[in-house]
Symmetry: C2
Subunit: 273 residues, 2 copies
């Protein structure tokens, strides 16, 4: 049962408000209902939001928590004047002291993504997604020289989601390449990868967890058996050690944590720009 509602009100997508608000709320033992109100970019829509928030507060008998990232001052004022919730103005709180420190005024322009089609950063992201799809699971050796990162690891160690995350959120062209028993027998990196050693990063995983994941896909197969998982992982880790490839275990890590660690190791300049 939800006993309280949290609103995320934004003149844009509300993704920033929700990401940040969720991180704050994760500090509390409670499961509030979440309501994201995106594209609240006119005074009219702000009045609608106020009505919805106040109605909710009356029904629940508790002040709704309202995270806002509103940039338009008129829209924000409509909320401040009418809303009976607890208003947490994430922008105003930090923008004003920053104006002091920087000695410049903020311009109150809406949206991180305005007219995406004209931004180089945005078209790089789309190009990275297309590259990563074309180079998923060792599908193509073509233009590995153009890759920013090449992930290696046994099947189902987390390469594909990590590749797509690095492409979509960091704009990095990420190929991924499965390590298979033939590679372990040869005791060497797949020949196509040799010239690109510097941008290779390995993913490994605990055998028990891998067997679990593979069993969902092909129940009771040799592929999914714990013995086979153990052998493949041992082979892959030995090879990565021999080839001096950096690697990490994905067993208890999220895509975000894996991606951040890879950036630290391979592309530290992507954390400093």
């Amino acid at each position: 049962m939800h006993s309280r509602t949290v609103f995320f009100v934004s003149d844009g997508t509300g993704i920033t408000a929700e990401t940040f608000g969720n991180a704050i709320l994760a500090q509390f033992e409670m499961k509030p209902r979440h309501v994201r109100l995106p594209f609240v970019d006119t005074v009219d829509k702000a009045h609608q939001a106020v009505r919805q928030i106040n109605h909710c507060g009356e029904v629940e008998g508790k002040k709704p928590i309202v995270f806002t990232t509103l940039v338009n001052m008129e829209v924000l004022k409509t909320l401040q004047d009418g809303c009976q919730g607890m208003l947490l103005d994430m922008f105003g709180t930090f923008v004003h002291p920053l104006e002091q420190e920087l000695g410049i005024k903020s311009h109150h322009r809406v949206g991180r993504f305005s007219d995406a089609s004209h931004s180089k950063e945005y078209s790089d992201r789309i190009a990275a997604i297309n590259f990563s799809l074309a180079h998923d699971d060792g599908q193509s050796h073509h233009d590995l020289a153009g890759a920013d990162v090449i992930l290696v690891g046994v099947s189902r160690s987390g390469k594909t989601p990590t590749s797509l995350y690095l492409a979509m959120q960091c704009g990095l062209k990420t190929a991924n390449y499965p390590l298979i028993p033939e590679d372990f027998e040869r005791r060497q990196l797949p020949p196509a990868l040799e010239p690109h050693r510097k941008k290779i990063f390995g993913l490994t995983i605990q055998a028990e967890r891998l067997a679990e994941i593979r069993n969902e896909r092909r129940p009771n197969s040799r592929y999914a058996s714990l013995d086979n998982c153990r052998a493949e992982i041992a082979g892959a880790e030995a090879m990565m050690r021999r080839s001096s490839i950096r690697w990490l275990s994905t067993t208890t890590k999220s895509i975000e944590e894996i991606a951040t660690t890879i950036l630290q190791e391979l592309r530290p300049e992507r954390l400093v720009y």
Copy 2:
């Protein structure tokens, strides 16, 4: 030339700190240098961060701006005591008033993603990514009933990046299906899609922009010609109108804006949970 540096210091990945900090900084006409310092989860690492920040301030002769989402109080205190930058404590600022309003204490636990492998939400995200990859570009009709969303549109209208975003960030199983000239001649939705009309969402795009995108892929082809793009788009839009499918134009929109609009239209419960 950068004249000032902004640090994002976190005990986790720093993604929340950076997302939010960037949204704030986008309000100012300035191009500071960005430095993300992730995984600052011990007092030792905090001292290192302090040294790096203070050194940077001395070199630049300007106070660095320091956004933190530190949860560990000892680590935070090390920064507060030693750091000569302008510290913007994003957590403390909102957590304390929330403790008052909610009447409960925050637990100061680190990380949104702790032990991802045990969370149902996380495994749903991974399943959604796998589903969306298997159902990219009409590759498979299998289990369309299992899809949460089915995107349709002409080739290069933005279906693939949007599908992957909905899967990765919202955990929605998203199929995408190209509309091709044969469909326009038949004047009907592809038969495989008919039973799933309620979860179909269309993407369209301006002909000039589509021709630009297609020309990068296949220069001077009939596929990329403005005439052909115009005809395909007219055919697709007429069909979507006839089939009462909701759609939007992706021409100037980011993946995030497209995804948020689709959620509002098709899965409003994903904005309220």
